[in-house]
């Protein structure tokens, strides 16, 4: 049964792509993931959110006649004619075991856990392969000079797909080290917001208990009315707008 027959419309254009070296004709404008499923592959690994944020479906591919290696997420990348692709659902990058509660938030601690960090030769293969356009070399450089904060900020968009580690000349697990940096930064270095602590305290003191009890006691109709009639910030509110009823707010 031909592809056109299964789809049932003559307008769908089929293009050739090569999945792990084997040629398939699949409808143009599909994503790599959909194209692979169209071709009959069933995803057990290498598929997750299908929304571009989980990092499970990392794919490397080439284009016809082009030596360059491209990368992308299978769920987000649209196929091109004569694309040659394979997936890297997992890369065995070494992950250090540590006790988060006990670890110091210092560059020395990272240095102790991941000494291979210092094998980086700045080849930039990691940055070039990153499907999220993270400046990997920049955060590795930051980590080498002990700047955890910079590394945390630069690596923010990382989705842990592992492609950087797969290309690394120095066999460094970049994304694991960056994750450690972000965990240390977020949990132990970044200043706590004072109003968060205040809020938690006022909740513990029971400031909102009465209001919550009152809310729970409302009927569905009363709740709907209270909700639709609530005071909302206007769409074009001036700077420093505050609600007229300050009950429940801090300060």
């Amino acid at each position: 049964m031909s592809a056109a027959q299964t789809i049932g419309t003559p307008q769908v254009k089929l293009i050739p792509i090569f999945i792990m070296g084997k040629r398939y004709e699949v409808p143009a404008e599909l994503t790599i993931m959909k194209a692979m499923e169209y071709a009959g592959y069933q995803f057990i690994r290498g598929c997750g959110c299908r929304g571009g944020v989980c990092g499970a479906c990392s794919t490397v591919y080439r284009k016809k006649g082009d030596y360059k290696i491209y990368s992308g997420l299978a769920c987000q990348t649209v196929i091109e004619p004569n694309m040659h692709l394979t997936q890297l659902p997992f890369f065995p990058a070494l992950r250090a075991i540590y006790d988060y509660a006990a670890i110091e938030a210092t560059a020395d601690a990272i240095q102790e856990l991941y000494p291979e960090l210092f094998r980086c030769v700045a080849c930039n293969a990691c940055t070039k392969i990153c499907p999220m356009d993270v400046q990997v070399l920049d955060y590795v450089s930051a980590l080498k000079r002990g700047d955890i904060a910079a590394a945390a900020v630069i690596s923010f968009d990382c989705i842990q797909c592992g492609l950087c580690a797969s290309r690394c000349f120095g066999e460094i697990p970049q994304y694991h080290i960056a994750q450690l940096a972000r965990r240390l930064h977020g949990g132990k270095i970044k200043p706590r917001s004072p109003h968060l602590a205040e809020m938690v305290e006022s909740i513990a003191e029971g400031k909102y208990d009465e209001m919550l009890v009152g809310l729970k006691a409302l009927t569905r109709e009363q709740l709907t009315e209270a909700y639709t009639k609530r005071e909302m910030e206007p769409a074009m509110s001036p700077e420093g707008w505050t609600p007229s009823n300050r009950e429940g707010l801090l300060g």
Partner: protein, 299 residues
Amino acid sequence: MTTPSKVSYYPGCTLKTKARNLEESALGALAALGIEVEELPRWNCCGAVFSLADDDLIRHVAPVRDLIRVTQQGATQVVTICSQCYNTLARANLLMREDEEKRKTLNLFMEEEPDYAGEVEVLHYLTLLRERVGWDALREKVKVPLDGLKVATFYGCTLLRPQVVAIDGPNPQVFEDFLRALGATPVPFSAAQECCGAYQGLVHPVEGGRRAATVLESAQRAGAEALVLSCPLCDYNLGARQPEVRAAHSGIEPVPTFYFTQLLAVALGLEPAVCHFELNGEGALKLLEDKEYVAAATA
């Protein structure tokens, strides 16, 4: 002498954390002397050692990338303080200037960067001082002459070898001239240009320790009160590891170690805090306090 233009500053990995005492004293002194340098906004580790294999190009990528960053900053000169960074950047620069084939291949590989052909000049801090200030002018600016301080000037390897990148001729005097301008008395000693052990102090601490012991003994025999260093790796072997080395080799008295920029900062009368003496080995700050170059800290 070239007309003053913006000078880039390349710190290297170690100066931001473990060798803060080297960086901050160096930059503080430059500011006090009116020399403006601007740190590269974006830089990577230079690799610390220059690859000597004929076919190895990947290890040249790191320093060349940094030289490209200098051009992107709009500067034609870059100054660095760490001896190994100086050596690596300078030699990589020479390679890009002299080897056409390797230059082409490296530029082709780093296609995401602009091409580079050796347009930048790599300077060591001492060279910058000598060119922009000069030793006589430096002497005039000294507020706290280090009179009576007998120092052994440890050049180490990477400032002098190979000769194409040496900061001074076959019989170097730049370090001694610098210290005399500060009022100190440089003490000649046999190990001045020998190796501290380099990375062997990390990988083979026993054998590396023997090198350190030789240097320390030599300085001691020459009657030095302190050892002046220019490189964070020399400091690891001769300063941080000094207690272990002395424990393994009897007969070596403790020798306080300083970075040359710390003595410069003290002589220029800068606040001791900029020198971060807490990162120096034992006895360093005390020696300066005893000699009254630095006011003794109040309890």
